[in-house]
């Protein structure tokens, strides 16, 4: 992969010039020490030293609500939506990049989802290696501290400058207004060192005690383990764990009629398998009525089914579910360790 470096004193000028030419989304500070991805208005807003974003960047690829079709029931004219604005997202962490790569696989698998893919084609990603980690994160042990595809540019903080890996031609174009230099031997050394230090950023208390390759088998063997029932007892079925997960992509489809009752849109909205209605059919039969069955299903999707479907564990170790869960039952670290028989 080609690389360049940019001095930190030059960096804000580059971002400022990108804001002029591109629709830039960046990682920004929010209330109470939290961070989120939002429209970047000035380079000063960008906070590449963040720990984790409240919501993963999936909201730009599969928006919480998006049009699938627009229609007029009088003329019976139906038009698929195809309004995909180009955006550039700055500050994606490796575990979230893994999440996006998994979504790419799911939506381009067999039946190509033109909405997702149309949007994805118009999204450029500038990723960054983390310098901090939230207290809940455990990506150091989920194999998601490094990523080698999906991004256009990738930044690594190496002291007074950023090391930039160039992933694509459009990434290279994004660098045109930047005052970059070729990477020196020392830069390459520092980059290597920063990379190898990534695994020490998450808290040592957040260790997965088993070999992650064994996770699907461990879960399969514990389909009837008491943990599901025990934890689900206090589950609110609120779906927060679904909402914040970078690999949850299930959706519902709804109608959005205009007041004139002739024009309307068919929209898709985020849905979650923890919600009580998720598997209920028209006749009233609910195929996943029990909270514990829904709770287990979500874990199995992350740890078993997606591994079978796309070859990767769908838990990327961001820790968002654990941090969002009010009754504190969603933490994958304690679940994996308990099912492995390795919980302290």
């Amino acid at each position: 992969m080609k690389s360049r470096v940019i001095l930190k004193v030059e960096f804000p000028h580059w971002i400022a010039s990108l804001i002029k030419t591109e629709n830039v989304i960046g990682i920004k500070a929010k209330e109470a020490g939290k961070f989120h991805f939002g429209k970047l208005r000035s380079s000063g807003e960008l906070r590449l030293d963040y720990d984790v974003a409240v919501l993963p960047p999936k909201k730009y690829l599969q928006p919480p609500k998006e049009d699938l079709l627009s229609y007029n029931i009088a003329s019976f004219k139906v038009t698929p939506s195809a309004d995909f604005q180009p955006i550039t997202i700055i500050g994606v962490h490796p575990y979230d990049m893994h999440g996006i790569n998994q979504m790419d696989a799911v939506f381009s698998d067999e039946n190509k989802d033109t909405n997702y893919l149309g949007r994805r084609k118009n999204v450029k990603i500038i990723g960054v290696d983390p310098v901090k980690a939230s207290a809940w994160s455990f990506w150091h042990d989920m194999g998601t501290a490094y990523v080698d595809k999906g991004f256009d540019l990738w930044l690594t903080d190496i002291g007074d400058r950023y090391f930039i890996e160039i992933g694509t031609k459009s990434g290279e174009n994004l660098l045109k207004p930047a005052k970059t230099e070729s990477a020196s031997k020392i830069d390459i050394e520092r980059h290597k060192k920063a990379r190898s230090g990534l695994k020490n950023i998450c808290s040592p208390s957040r260790r997965i005690k088993t070999d992650i390759k064994k996770i699907p088998d461990i879960f399969r063997a514990n389909h009837d383990h008491g943990l599901w029932e025990k934890r689900a007892k206090t589950c609110y079925s609120c779906g927060s764990c679904n909402l914040v997960c970078p690999t949850c992509y299930c959706f519902d489809v709804r109608e959005d009629m205009e007041l004139n009752l002739t024009g309307g849109r068919r929209v898709r909205v985020w849905d979650g398998c923890m919600l009580e209605e998720f598997a209920r059919v028209g006749s009233g039969e609910n195929f996943r009525k029990e909270r514990s069955a829904r709770f287990r299903h979500r874990f199995f999707r992350k740890m078993v089914y997606m591994k079978e479907k796309i070859g990767a564990l769908a838990c990327v170790g961001c820790g968002r579910c654990a941090s969002a869960c009010l009754p504190d039952i969603a933490d994958p670290v304690t679940a994996i360790n308990e099912l492995s028989g390795l919980e302290d």
């Binding site: 799911v106 959706f251 489809v253 309307g264 849905d271 398998c273 059919v281 195929f287 999707r301 078993v304």
Partner: protein
């Protein structure tokens, strides 16, 4: 690349009441093209402004190329909107989706259909296919169970089924008009004799029915690999994305709705 979610414009040519809660809709596409379905598949029916619902195709492809039939029970928003529509009304159709009954593989076999309630709707697509291709199959037996006499479906086709197949019927609860069998569908098994090694069993019915019918199949010694069933789930998108129809890791809209029993018996959420 066309959107996965774009329905094809279609019309309701004919609407016939079947019971107080079920109607039969004959549907054809505006462009005159055939649906091109195989027995056991389903479509997503769109009523714009109301929504979309997965509906099994009830007609056999042998009966009409230009149109297909959907038998629909009034249960939710989309189905009640359909029940309120008149002949000539416009709807949207996506599909056909999903797997079909293995009608080729089963050539030469005896067929035992076990249909409960509106399970007869998808089963009918294969029943009529088999009757229209009777030379290719051995003995055809149809067991049909309804909750009550007023809920019996396709009563006008039963004389044909009686003539061309062995057709047995029962109701869970009789009324003063009913002279036939009374009892759950499994009670019909004692009235039939089958050649277990030659028979393929096709089961479609409400979720509760499967376990009990499977026990009867076991008694009759029909191998699990010769039992086929169509499973109901919330097939919202029909294209393996939305997640609602998942049964463990299996997307029913893609790998089903028709399954071979031996292939799903280890799946915890299947039955």
């Amino acid at each position: 690349m066309e959107s996965l979610y774009l329905p094809r414009p279609a019309r309701l040519n004919k609407i016939l009441p079947l019971t107080a809660t079920e109607k039969l809709f004959e549907v054809s596409f505006d462009d005159g093209k055939s649906l091109g379905h195989q027995p056991g598949q389903f479509v997503e029916v769109s009523v714009f402004g109301v929504g979309e619902a997965p509906i099994s195709v009830s007609s056999s492809p042998t009966r009409s190329k230009r149109s297909f039939e959907l038998a629909i029970r009034l249960v939710g928003n989309v189905t009640s909107a359909l029940h309120n529509m008149k002949e000539g009304s416009r709807i949207g159709i996506r599909g056909p989706f999903g797997t079909h009954f293995p009608y080729k593989e089963l050539e030469g076999r005896d067929l035992l259909f076990v249909a409960g309630g509106i399970g007869l709707v998808p089963a009918r697509s294969f029943i009529n296919y088999a009757i229209d291709n009777s030379k290719k199959y051995g003995k055809i037996t149809i067991l049909f169970g309804s909750k009550s006499p007023s809920e019996r479906l396709f009563t006008n086709e039963m004389s044909e089924w009686r003539e061309k197949a062995e057709f047995l019927e029962t109701v869970d609860k009789a009324d003063e008009t009913w002279r036939g069998n009374v009892g759950v569908i499994t009670t019909l098994f004692s009235k039939i004799s089958i050649n277990a090694r030659k028979t393929a069993c096709i089961i479609v019915g409400p979720p509760i029915m499967y376990k009990f019918v499977l026990m009867e199949c076991k008694k009759k010694e029909i191998p699990d690999s010769n039992i086929f069933m169509s499973l109901e789930r919330r097939m919202k998108c029909g294209v393996g994305k939305c997640g609602h129809c998942q049964m463990d890791g299996v997307y029913i809209c893609q790998k089903g709705p028709v399954f071979r029993y031996s292939e799903i018996k280890e799946i915890a959420e299947a039955l």
